[in-house]
């Protein structure tokens, strides 16, 4: 992974290793969030940044077969929702571009960070993605 690549947005994840998604917890109502909101929408109080669990289960997914040139994503690519262990948070994510065809509901997946597509500035950047825990078929 090239050292000069930056995350597609600041404050979303730590590159690591190990990579971690940066969420938030409300000190009052204890609800957890991803991404970090400006304030807790229930209490309107500042939230505390927390590192989220790196493993979870695929809730649903899709494989986009048409080009998405907006951020120069691979074609095809898989994305969808993962339910993170213990945190009780469902996060939207890319899935491993090398394993797009292998993703299934209920699959155990783990967090990675790598160069995928370009960022808001049009330059290559880092994105978080999930890959099968057992390494998949490939």
């Amino acid at each position: 992974m090239a050292a000069d690549l930056k995350p597609m947005l600041d404050g979303i994840f730590e590159v690591g290793p190990p990579p971690r998604l940066l969420g938030a917890e409300c000190p009052i109502c204890k609800q957890k969030f991803f991404p970090k909101p400006i304030v807790c929408p229930h209490c309107l109080e500042d939230v505390k940044e927390i590192k989220l669990n790196t493993e979870g289960t695929v809730y649903s997914y899709s494989i986009l077969r048409i080009p998405n040139k907006l951020y120069q994503f691979p074609q095809p690519y898989a994305s969808g929702y993962v339910d993170l262990d213990n945190d009780n948070i469902r996060v939207y994510c890319l899935f491993d571009p090398e394993k797009a065809e292998e993703i299934r509901i209920g699959q155990r997946v783990t967090l990675r960070v790598g160069q995928i597509g370009i960022g808001l500035d049009g330059k290559e950047c880092l994105r978080y993605y999930f890959t099968p825990v057992d390494g998949g078929e490939k």
């Binding site: 649903s60 899709s62 494989i63 969808g80 929702y81 469902r90 939207y92 509901i105």
Partner: protein, 383 residues
């Protein structure tokens, strides 16, 4: 609060209109509606213009005033409304409120959209949205819903295809649906190019251009203009919850908006004669028939397969052709759904007339935030 009627309708056909400007489509629909209502431009008290993409695609803004003046309407308050696919229904809700409040007597609603420009980008609610940055585009959200719906309920890809076959067949009976001119088979739908599994190109509505318009009037004076006013019994707009990403095999917004609308109208799903819903993707219609209460949750697939939602069936859905058959000119779409309701309840739908239609429901849904629909609308019309 005062009762509100619909006394005029107009449409500029939905299709590909490369050389017709947005404003002209809107003006033509507006003029048809005020002529149909028998009102003069000077009798319109307030105007609402629905559009989603003009600022983005054709670099226009405050188009509503231009459209209204094109139809001879000036001086009055005019609002430009953007609420994604529900822009037109949201404009209708505002028009209804403005009349029900007693402040205005006659309102004009126009929805218009021009999508067939040289480059049509994939739609995104915000470039900085974390989900968009992680690869979400509109079709992904609905493909993920379809994957989950199939997983939970055993919905089949053939059932997903049947929705398109049905709505394309309906569209052939609608002179305002110009996008397609032939029916399709289940095999053609299934064998069309894959967009986002399991959704093939023919399970997605196409981009069409067009416009639609309504004249709303205080019920206490509507008979001055028409002997057949159609009653707008409920016009509901809700937003999503957005708090925790929801389960994707149901539409909570549909359930909530329709419950409010049924209660307001004093009616239930069993009273509805015909439905237009937001069939942007075939999975959407299957889910709407469940979540609006026309069949049990999870049985939308078998329901379309049974023929219940076809013209002549128990509860015909998207008899106009829907978005799949007419195309989806975003700002015009939800207005056109209500136009179809008026045509059906007047008994003027010709070959696509739902026999004895007395109660009509229009549902629309737009944009997504954290897995919830940002906007959802339900309108109920009666004879």
């Amino acid at each position: 609060m005062r009762d509100v009627d619909i006394i005029g309708i107009g449409m500029f056909p939905f299709g590909v209109h490369k050389t017709t400007p947005l404003v002209e489509m809107g003006v033509r629909a507006a003029i048809d509606a005020i002529k149909d209502a028998g009102v003069k431009p000077s009798q319109v008290n307030i105007g609402f213009f629905a559009n989603m993409q003009a600022a983005n695609l054709t670099k226009e803004f405050t188009t509503g005033q231009t459209v209204m003046w094109g139809a001879g309407i000036n001086k009055i308050p005019v609002f430009n409304i953007e609420n994604a696919c529900t822009s037109g229904a949201s404009a209708t809700t505002l028009a209804m409120m403005s009349i029900a409040s007693g402040q205005y007597d006659i309102a004009l609603v126009v929805g218009a959209e021009k999508l067939n420009v040289p480059f049509i980008p994939l739609l995104n609610p915000s470039l900085r949205d974390i989900n968009v940055l992680e690869g979400n585009v509109v079709i992904n959200g609905f493909a993920q819903r379809a994957v989950r719906h199939m997983h939970e309920y055993g919905t089949t890809k053939e059932q997903l295809a049947m929705v398109d076959v049905k709505n394309r067949k309906h569209a052939l009976l609608n002179p305002m649906a110009k996008f397609f001119n032939k029916p399709v088979t289940i095999e053609e739908v299934l064998n069309a190019p894959m967009m986002a599994d399991p959704l093939t190109k023919l399970m997605c509505c196409p981009n069409s251009d067009g416009a639609a318009a309504l004249v709303l009037c205080a019920a206490e004076i509507s008979r001055r203009f028409t002997s057949k006013p159609i009653h707008l019994k409920a016009s509901v707009l809700v937003s999503g919850i957005f708090d925790e990403v929801p389960d994707m095999q149901t539409f909570e917004e549909d359930q909530r908006a329709s419950r409010i609308a049924y209660e307001t109208a004093g009616l239930g799903p069993e009273d509805v004669s015909a439905v237009e819903c937001h069939d942007a993707f075939t999975i959407c219609e299957i889910m709407h028939t469940e979540n609006l209460g026309f069949c049990p949750i999870g049985e939308g697939g078998p329901f379309v397969e049974s023929g219940a939602t076809s013209l002549g069936g128990k509860i015909p859905v998207n008899v106009s052709g829907g978005l799949l058959g007419k195309g989806h000119p975003l700002g015009a779409t939800a207005v056109s759904q209500i136009v179809e309701g008026v045509i059906q309840l007047r008994g003027e739908a010709g070959a696509r007339q739902v026999e004895g239609a007395k109660v009509f429901l229009a549902e629309c849904m737009g944009a997504e935030l954290r897995g919830d629909a940002k906007t959802c609308t339900v309108n109920i019309l009666t004879v």
